[in-house]
């Protein structure tokens, strides 16, 4: 079941997205935060807006 869930594009996107959000919000290292923002924001826009 876990493999099946992981297989899903949306599940993977959600897990990566939450990981990046956590990194952005809790990290004290500006480089980690910058990287998280630059990956997370375009990814969110792609998933939410671009059909």
């Amino acid at each position: 079941m876990a493999i099946l869930l992981f297989w899903s594009y949306w599940t993977l996107a959600l897990m990566v997205g939450l990981g990046l959000l956590r990194l952005l919000w809790t990290s004290r290292d500006w480089r980690e935060q910058a990287l998280a923002a630059l990956v997370l924001v375009p990814m969110l826009l792609r998933v939410l807006l671009v059909k």
Binding site: L24, T26, R28, Q33, A37, V41, P42, L45, V50
Partner: protein
């Protein structure tokens, strides 16, 4: 005091997170505008001879409103005759095929029979260029009044946003022939198509339905190919269209246009001339290839000037390697006017040859420029200005 002191770095890191988030949003907005602009479909200005404007989804309803749907321009003559379907933009990275179809749409005056033009056969493939190819997103040309007209250059295959993921191996239906995975998005490997197949198969199915239900007599699929590709400057014909194609090649030779006649391979499935020719026994199915220096592996910098002028120092240098270039590429290059002109001359000769091969299926028209006119005056006089 101790609590307030420990809160401050956290607060500043969250402020930083918000700033980075806003910065990323700004960057994504700027880049996203370019990205989404690729989906804007440029307007074509049909000639006054246009009879009807239809949509591909009329032959396969699930395409309606989606990015597989595409305009079909119908031109009917006063006198009865045959029905020709011209496909442009099967591969939007082959711009002469698309621009030749555009010039037909904007200039046709059909006298006998009917000419149907589908200038963006794979509309989805116009919305993205191929990765790592460095092709420009559009070509800007002056129209007859000097105003700018932009024509999109796309990729070879359907946009992956419309059909994803690619399989490891593409299995063509119904032949079960295997091809590389990416060919699953290639319209010219997807015929005859399936109504419940993947996106590209559905587009192919719609075109097949158009051909069968409307009783198309002659199909001309406009393409370009790399200089080192063996089938270049060629007319490919289904075996039933052999006589027609031979007559057209003869006519083209008389007009000074050298072109090879290639039989459609019976064992290579998925191609328009093979599958549509097999699907409709009354159809004479053909495909045209011109030589495009902006496509092959040997080419140098690929930009709008290179695509329009057809000049490439790498191919000119390769001229010295025996057998490398299948078409001569000198410093004058193979300009767009030559490539579009070859297509238009070949379509005209195929229609002339119809009168010989099938006299009741005559198709006669005026309007589109000849090769000589294009080489003298360029494309602009035949591009109508956009309505204001």
């Amino acid at each position: 005091m101790k609590g307030a002191a420990s809160l401050s770095p956290l607060r500043s890191s969250r402020m930083r997170a918000l700033c980075f988030g806003l910065l990323a949003l700004t960057l994504a907005w700027v880049a996203g505008r370019d990205f989404l602009a690729q989906r804007e479909v440029e307007e074509l200005v049909p000639s006054p001879g246009l009879t009807q404007r239809r949509w591909l989804s009329e032959w396969h309803a699930p395409l309606k409103g989606g990015r597989g749907d595409s305009e079909v321009f119908v031109f009917r003559g006063q006198a009865p005759g045959g029905r020709v379907l011209v496909l442009g933009g099967t591969h939007p990275n082959e711009p002469a095929g698309y621009l030749a179809a555009v010039l037909l749409v904007e200039n046709l005056q059909v006298e006998a029979g009917e000419v149907w033009v589908l200038p963006r056969a794979n509309a989805s493939a116009f919305t993205a260029t191929d990765p790592q190819e460095g092709t420009p997103q559009c070509l800007v040309l002056p129209a007859a009044d000097g105003s700018a007209r932009a024509f999109r250059v796309g990729g070879r295959a359907t946009n992956p946003l419309d059909q994803w993921p690619d399989p490891e191996i593409t299995v063509h239906r119904p032949s079960l022939q295997t091809l590389s995975g990416v060919e699953v998005r290639n319209l010219n490997r997807s015929y005859p198509g399936r109504p419940d197949g993947v996106f590209t198969e559905q587009v192919a199915f719609a075109i097949r339905q158009l051909v069968e239900r409307e009783g198309v007599d002659l199909l001309v699929d406009l393409h370009e190919a790399a200089i080192e590709y063996p089938v270049v400057n060629a007319l490919v014909a289904h075996e039933r269209a052999g006589d027609l194609a031979a007559a057209a090649v003869f006519g083209l030779s008389m007009a000074g246009v050298d072109i090879a006649l290639e039989p459609s391979p019976a064992n290579l499935h998925g191609l328009s001339h093979r599958e549509l020719g097999d699907a409709r026994p009354a159809l004479l199915a053909t495909l045209l290839e011109t030589a495009n220096p902006g496509q092959g592996r040997l080419r140098g910098r690929t930009d709008a000037a290179q695509l329009l002028l057809g000049q490439d120092p790498c191919y000119t240098a390769a001229q010295g390697i025996p057998g490398m270039n299948k078409v001569k590429v000198d410093s004058l290059g193979l300009p767009m006017t030559l490539r579009v002109g070859r297509h238009l001359e070949a379509v005209r000769e195929l229609c002339v040859a119809m009168e010989v091969v099938a006299p009741d299926k005559v198709v006669r028209y005026a309007g589109p420029p000849s090769l000589m006119e294009l080489q003298t005056a360029g494309l602009s006089p035949w591009l109508r200005p956009l309505p204001r």
